[in-house]
Symmetry: C2
Subunit: 154 residues, 2 copies
DNA sequence: TTAAATAGTACTAGAATAGTCCTCAATTAT
DNA sequence: ATAATTGAGGACTATTCTAGTACTATTTAA
């Protein structure tokens, strides 16, 4: 569930490669051969990332792509919305009339809270975090996970 | 992004209707006419929820569906995984060899952390929360949103 | 026994994704 | 200047996934 598209997945791979050797310019073809993702697909992704101002492109010979900001300043949320549009779990947007007729739709407001919560969580993770080594043993953080929606009603 | 399927959306509508008038048995047809969702679709969803032990079904005349637990004991995470399978953003699962060849795949562990974080957030929201009135004005909770992955590295 | 209701499964149409390709524009090096 | 390199932009296709439907079997109450 909660699928991200493959393209988004690729984007994180590409970006974390770029983050690791910083301050460098990389041509699309170079990135394609290093990551093993087909060139046209890499190109497509890079273009989307440029439009989202996550990357800066330089045309012409010796051109290429580079990060627009430092890895600590690029959030995963930004990457995801660059590739998939605004972050939202539901598209309850299907005509408000329909929702008023149907009985269940006071829910919508609560979905929005959940969306916000997840968005904030993704906002707090940066590219810099992604390229750090994993310590899956270390589960101390679990205790820190919050219950934001429930807390609304205290 | 982060799309949930329409079916999952419907499921929350159906379940919150059922949660509101508790302890009652509801036939699929009744639910269909009240929610405005087509009967075959409602049936499909109800069956999935039964398989996930979120609902209990009773066959035969006077049969129907009822909640298997109280609304406070049914998490949104459970509903989502009932409809869409395990909660995971990426399906990096595409052959580990492929990932070792490509340069970017130390990322996977970090994705798992993000998945876990989101899973925990969804686990903390229950059906009971969903049927409460929304107070979108009240944004106090925003201050409480955490930075779980970053905290891993302190 | 009959009617009401769910269980299970298979199928179809439509939409969304992934992936590719082609032409234009810009920059550098010769 | 001119050629080579590289990105920009858009159009297009095939495949996969989802939503929705239909049909048959099974169970239970009256």
């Amino acid at each position: 569930m909660l699928r991200l598209s493959k393209l988004t997945d690729y984007a994180t791979v590409i970006l974390s490669f770029m983050a690791r050797d910083n301050a460098q310019m990389h041509a699309a073809m170079e990135i394609a051969s290093i990551t093993g993702i087909a060139l046209p697909t890499v190109s497509k992704i890079l273009k989307l990332l440029v439009n989202a101002k996550i990357l800066i492109s330089t045309r012409g010979a010796k051109g290429g792509y580079e990060l627009a900001r430092t890895p600590t300043e690029i959030s995963i949320a930004a990457v995801i919305s660059a590739l998939e549009g605004p972050i939202a779990l539901t598209e309850c947007s299907i005509s408000q009339q329909g929702c008023e007729q149907a009985s269940g739709c006071e829910i919508r407001g609560n979905w929005n809270l959940i969306n916000q919560t997840i968005h904030n969580a993704l906002e707090s993770v940066t590219l810099a975090d992604m390229i750090r080594p994993t310590r899956s043993q270390d589960l101390a953080w679990k205790q820190e996970v919050l219950i934001p929606v429930a807390s609304l009603y205290r």
